[in-house]
């Protein structure tokens, strides 16, 4: 794979980030004829610079708004409030060539390796269509070459994959084709929403490896969305922990996993069943509260109901984000002695350094 033109990337890169979420909230439902509203994302700000090729993990339990975040970034849905910016311009206003550019620049890998293929077409379809649409490759041969290169880059043999129907391939092969597809388009960002949650453990590693390869060789930043802290720990440089639509902790992955600050993160990490019989699950029972009455409908910390360290003030107002350590932010009153961190700076923190790639 020829390296990209680094200079072009740098040009103006520092000025406008590739993607930016500004105070984005997403509320589902609540319309005229539908059910009660669900706040899937609540006032989230996040910047993805595009010039630092890192892997950023977003973890959180089911329903915490991870997929919503991904869909917003991909422009599949529009925010209820706040704005999603692509290179500084509002995503919902993009038209024509700019829109196509965005489409090409931000690619995705989805969760379900079965549903992502149209059963009606050969797997080539997912590769040829974007080539046509984005007018990549001048000739048929050139396009073929692009496809072959991409497949080989993720460790697939083109003759074993091209020309087949999706059901003739294994889940892992399919998922890697999608990774290859993303790679082939040379995007500026890949959003991977639970790309391995539906494949076997042995394939998981292979797929993550190819993602990692893409990230390393093409210098494409990747947003890795998962509920599996174990893999997040392995692939990513930075991590964002979400809880019920809000970011509760963020920082360098090593710091967050080995020294979690937020009670929720701690609970999560305690619950990871590490594949090591010698390392037992934390015995601490969760859910026990600190003797604090938490009213049904309070305006405070979202985690207060389940927090073992809940304090009365936790139910009064949402805690601000504190800089708990260098490159490690947390939104919890336990750290109120630390300096607060404005939301916008959260992203800056996440790109500061990386224990893996800065080496």
């Amino acid at each position: 794979m020829p390296p990209r033109d680094e200079t072009a990337r740098e040009g103006g890169g520092d000025a406008t980030p590739l993607m930016e979420l500004r105070n984005v909230s997403k509320v589902y439902g609540g319309g005229v004829l539908s059910r009660t509203a669900t706040v899937a994302l609540d006032d989230v700000s996040l910047t993805i610079p595009g010039d630092s090729p890192q892997i950023l993990s977003v973890v959180g339990e089911s329903g915490s708004g991870k997929t919503t975040l991904a869909s917003l970034l991909l422009g599949f849905i529009s925010p209820t409030s706040g704005t999603v910016l692509y290179r500084g311009s509002d995503l919902s206003r993009l038209r024509g060539a700019r829109l196509r550019e965005f489409r090409r620049d931000v690619q995705a890998v989805f969760q379900d390796p079965f549903a992502v293929f149209n059963p009606f077409y050969k797997v080539d379809h997912v590769l040829t269509v974007p080539l046509q649409k984005f007018r990549l490759g001048r000739s048929k041969a050139e396009r073929q070459e692009l496809m072959v290169n991409a497949l080989e880059a993720v460790g697939l043999r083109p003759d074993e994959t091209l020309g087949r129907y999706p059901h003739q391939l294994s889940g892992g092969q399919r998922q890697r084709i999608i990774v290859a597809r993303a790679l082939m388009l040379r995007p500026k960002l890949i959003v991977a929403d639970e790309p391995v949650s539906m494949v076997d453990a042995s394939l998981r590693a292979t797929i993550l490896e190819s993602l990692r390869t893409v990230n390393q060789t093409l210098k494409v930043p990747i947003l890795y969305i998962t509920h599996d802290l174990g893999t997040a720990y392995h692939v990513s440089d930075h991590i964002v922990v979400m809880y019920r639509g809000g970011i509760v902790e963020a920082g360098d992955v090593e710091d967050v996993i080995t020294a979690p600050k937020h009670p929720y993160t701690r609970m999560l990490i305690d619950s990871i069943p590490w594949p090591d019989p010698r390392r037992r699950w934390g015995s601490e029972e969760t859910g026990a509260r600190n003797g604090v009455e938490v009213p049904e409908d309070h305006q405070g910390c979202r985690f207060a109901e389940r927090c073992p360290a809940a304090m009365p003030r936790c139910t009064q107002a949402q805690p601000p984000t504190y800089l708990a350590a260098s490159g490690h932010a947390v939104s919890c009153y336990l750290y109120d002695e630390k300096p607060t961190l404005p939301k916008e700076r959260l992203s800056a923190l996440l790109t500061q350094h990386s224990s893996l790639t800065s080496a």
């Binding site: 439902g29 004829l33 539908s34 059910r35 009660t36």
Partner: protein, 335 residues
């Protein structure tokens, strides 16, 4: 259980349905070149004797009386107001009887025959389908799949005249037509009730046989789907009696869409009922529809149409309202 918003939505739908039906019924005759009043008068003239004079004047007078000389929008408004009041005016063919009085005489018969047969078809069909979709279904029962397809493939009225020929005419087990013996006097007695039942049997059979297959086949495939559900596997793992799994777990769940399907099939059912009633000279709305077609009594047709539309709407509403009782997952509150 039921939110106001949901009710409002349902009633709004009902109103639109009635309004649409009423409008279609109002405008179609206006587009037609036929003039039922004139036709009726001419027919009366030719039948009564000879030398009818002043026909045109009478047509005029009648049109005036029925308000047909008014501007269209006015007629439309009047018609809609009448729908609101369930007032369909006079029958043209049975003048001076009102449409309502005619319908009132016929409706109980159709309700009796129609409701009974659709319920029987539903119950038997559902049960049969449930058995057929059950993995332990005995082999001999399986022949009901093609059998019920066969009876459903023959239109109800064809079934009807085959049944008449066989059971009423050749075997003389059942009467040939009508809703009760002509020589009997309507009264509240067991004898008369039996007489009615005997008369209703063959038309009901035709309707049931025709509907049965569809119900059974639909239930069968619902059942097959349900049997594949995890909760059935678990129920079996729980060591439950097969009977209980069948009734409480499989049928109970497969029934839910089946009930919705029942509502959807009401329309076609009404169609079959009309034809079968005509065939059996049954004194319900069906025969009435046929009669009003023949003489183009569109006031009556209009009335019957609206009553049936209303009935179907109400049936749908009722099913919707009892649905949450069947399926605890459905609640119309809030959402």
């Amino acid at each position: 259980m039921i939110s106001r918003r949901y009710l409002v939505r349902r009633i709004l739908l009902l109103v639109t349905v009635m309004w649409t039906a009423a409008s279609i019924n109002f405008f179609i005759p206006k587009l037609s070149p036929r003039d039922p009043i004139r036709e009726r008068l001419m027919l009366a003239a030719t039948q009564g004797g000879r030398n009818q004079t002043g026909l045109e004047a009478m047509v005029e007078a009648y049109n005036q009386q029925f308000g047909l000389d008014q501007p269209l929008w006015k007629q439309y408004l009047t018609a809609m107001l009448k729908v609101v009041r369930f007032d369909y005016g006079y029958s043209i063919s049975q003048y001076p009887r009102t449409v309502n009085s005619i319908i009132k005489d016929a409706l109980p018969w159709t309700l009796g025959l129609g409701l009974m047969s659709i319920l029987i078809a539903f119950v038997i069909g559902t049960l049969l389908g449930a058995l057929l979709g059950w993995p332990r279904c005995p082999r001999w029962l399986r022949i009901f799949v093609p059998a019920s397809m066969l009876t459903s493939a023959v239109p109800a009225f064809v079934l009807g005249f085959l049944l008449i020929y066989l059971f009423a005419f050749q075997l003389k087990i059942f009467p040939l037509s009508g809703a009760y013996s002509r020589t009997a006097t309507p009264e509240w007695s067991l004898e008369f009730a039996l007489d009615i039942a005997k008369h209703a049997f063959l038309p009901a059979c035709a309707l049931v046989l025709f509907q049965l297959g569809g119900q059974a086949l639909q239930m069968r495939s619902l059942m097959v789907m349900t049997v594949g559900e995890d909760y059935i596997t678990f129920a079996e793992a729980k060591g439950l009696r097969p009977r209980r799994i069948f009734a409480r777990y499989a049928v109970r769940n497969a029934m839910l869409p089946q009930v919705t399907g029942l509502v959807m099939s009401l329309g076609t059912f009404v169609f079959s009922t009309v034809l079968v009633e005509t065939l059996f000279a049954y004194p319900g709305l069906g025969g009435l529809i046929n009669g009003s077609i023949q003489v183009l009594d569109y006031n009556l047709l209009y009335g019957i149409t609206m009553i049936l539309v209303f009935a179907v709407c109400i049936a749908t509403l009722i099913v919707d309202l009892i649905y949450p009782l069947l399926d605890p997952r459905i609640r119309y509150e809030k959402g």
